[in-house]
């Protein structure tokens, strides 16, 4: 059971399900419209099943997938200049901590998009940057404010002033009629 619920297995199984759904959907179309989708989907569905078996074996054996080295061994040196503070060393994370961080990374993306949807680009961007830089990463207020102000000014000048882009105003403001 443990093997079956691993992320790798679930992701492989997702492909099987997706292609099964696509095949079932395609069979409902007229012959001309379904020919090419079925020509592609049927063999790929079989491939997805084979991939599921391969991944099951990998998970069962407890093999580590081949990965590029990503651990930072020592602080980074820069040819011409250095950033405001030296880069933090990357800490080695346990399995649970890693999963938590992954979910956090995904949550940041979803949270930012939800903020844009409700509050619009300008306010969501300011809020997101302040929360991410100061509260999540514990950078100083001074750096947070300067960085946020520069980013916001760039967005406003480039997109609103020059390009006349229609940045999304946010549902709340639409509801309020502002």
């Amino acid at each position: 059971m443990k093997y079956l619920t691993s992320g790798r297995m679930l992701f492989s199984a997702l492909f099987v399900v997706v292609f099964a759904v696509l095949i079932v959907t395609a069979t409902g179309y007229n012959p001309k419209a379904r020919t090419f989708p079925l020509i592609v989907a049927v063999p790929v569905f079989l491939g997805a099943l084979a991939n599921l078996v391969v991944d099951f074996r990998i998970v069962q054996r407890g093999e580590k997938p081949k990965k590029e080295k990503s651990e930072t061994k020592s602080p980074i040196t820069v040819a011409e200049a250095t950033p405001a503070e030296p880069a933090k060393k990357k800490e080695k994370l346990s399995g649970t901590a890693k999963r938590r961080r992954e979910l956090l990374g995904i949550a940041w993306l979803i949270g930012y998009v939800l903020a844009i949807t409700f509050l619009g680009f300008p306010i969501a961007t300011i809020g997101y940057m302040v929360v991410f830089i100061h509260f999540f990463n514990r950078e100083s207020w001074k750096l947070t404010i300067i960085y946020t102000a520069i980013m916001w000014a760039f967005i406003w000048i480039a997109f609103v002033y020059f390009l006349k882009s229609n940045l999304y105003p946010g549902l709340i403001f639409e509801w309020l009629g502002i």
Binding site: G7, F11, S12, F19, L22, T25, A26, Y29, K32, A33, P37, V40, A41, P43, V44, G47, A48, N51, V54, P65, E68, K69, S70, E71, T72, K73, P75, I76, T77, V78, A79, E80, A81, P83, A84, A87, K88, K89, R101, E102, G105, I106, W108, L109, V113, I116, F121, T125, Y128, M129, F132, I133, N137, L143, Y147, M151, I155, F159, S165, Y168
Partner: protein, 496 residues
Amino acid sequence: MLEAMWSGLTQVLSFPALGLMLLGIPIGLIIGAIPGLGGNLGLALLIPFTYGMSPIAGFSLLFGMHSVVQTGGPMSSILFNAPGTGPSAADCLDGFPMAQQGKAGRAIGAALVSSIAGSIIGAIGMAILIPFVRPLILAFSPAEFFMMAILGITFIALVSGNSLLKGLLIGGLGLMMAFIGMDPITGVARFTYGQLWLFDGVKLVPIVIGLFAGSETISMILKGGSIVEGDVQVGNDVFDGVKDVFRNWWLVLRCGIIGYVIGLMPGLGGEVSAWVTYGHAAQSSKHPETFGKGNVQGVIAPAVAIHSKEGGALVPTLAFGVPGSSAMAILLGAFLVLGLQPGPAMLKEHLDVVWAMFWVVIIANIIGAMALLAVAKYLTLLTVLRSSLIVPFIMVFVMLGSYLTSNSITDLAITVAFSIIGYAMKKFDYPRAPLVLSLVLGGIAEKNLQMSLQLWGASFLTRPITFVLLILTILSVAYPVWRAINKKNGKPEVAA
């Protein structure tokens, strides 16, 4: 001819054309570097300003901007894995791994000089071919487009990295995504599940941005640190990248010609030229296994092709008034604004304007690339910024780029979904390139196959150019297999 050529050059280098070109260049570089904007937006914005200008002055502004959009595009691909333009997504594959290894300067140097080389090849091709273009353009039909797309799709095997099975799976997914929307022949809405926003098919930019840049932000939040991994110096190797282009001159020439030919075919976009040449570079390399891990040839090939393709796209636009790309379709509007009618008459009556375009494409690219080369060393410093500062920067541009593609909040949701999918693909060793490759080429292949079958039946395969492309496709599949067998048997490889 020489007189018109000289006249075009002197007019481009005189006031106000030169000033307008110099104004267009930074606009193009910035638009190209910001994910999601693209040159079409720049053209649409600048065309109104050309009212009342002379044709050469107007085209100096428009081509000055448009020529360098793709020069700025690879910057964000290399530095942040966030493609500035659709075609420059191919530069993510090796450019970003180079940045992670501290070689962002080398990748940028290579991409910029490749841009110059590509634009020169494209412009020369345009100049050579314009007088004889009619039979060549007419030789391309849906049958040739189909075989060209199939040839590109066969490169999935080459961009699949360690797992061919996973690569084919992802390639299949990309093809199925290309089928989403209205079937071009029957008009049936396929795989839309009642969602109106899927009727036009899926948009490439929000998917590519999510797949590469969005997934990278999740990785960076997870790992912390900076983009550069390890103890390395950055910014000192820009000139190495410049030298790489000269070392790989044969690849540059081949990819330049391939990009140019693809540009000649109306309807095949810059993405096709970038991905086909990337596949070609991997296929012809002695070390295809290093592609996707930071091989500079993987940066050079698409950068050359994207630029030479523009020269090719200009040919049908100028000679027939048939736009070779979406940008050229917008430019057709500019022709009318400036009082010109593209077509055979233009080649006779306004040959100096045609030559002026030739010079603007070359000069703007040289100036644009040189300007970026001058600051490349400082741009690479962004790769050593810690994640607390670089992640919000990338995230904001990811979302802006995705949204501005069509001013739709739905695109943001697509980007988030593909960020998560891209992260999972990266984590579980699924290559991401086949998805983009097949998504770009799948729709083209299906539409043109249907048309070919209706026009000629199965005998379309016997058309001369189609047949040559078919042979190339068979060789493209057979060569890696032959090489793998040789490798397994321990025989020395013959240089490709």
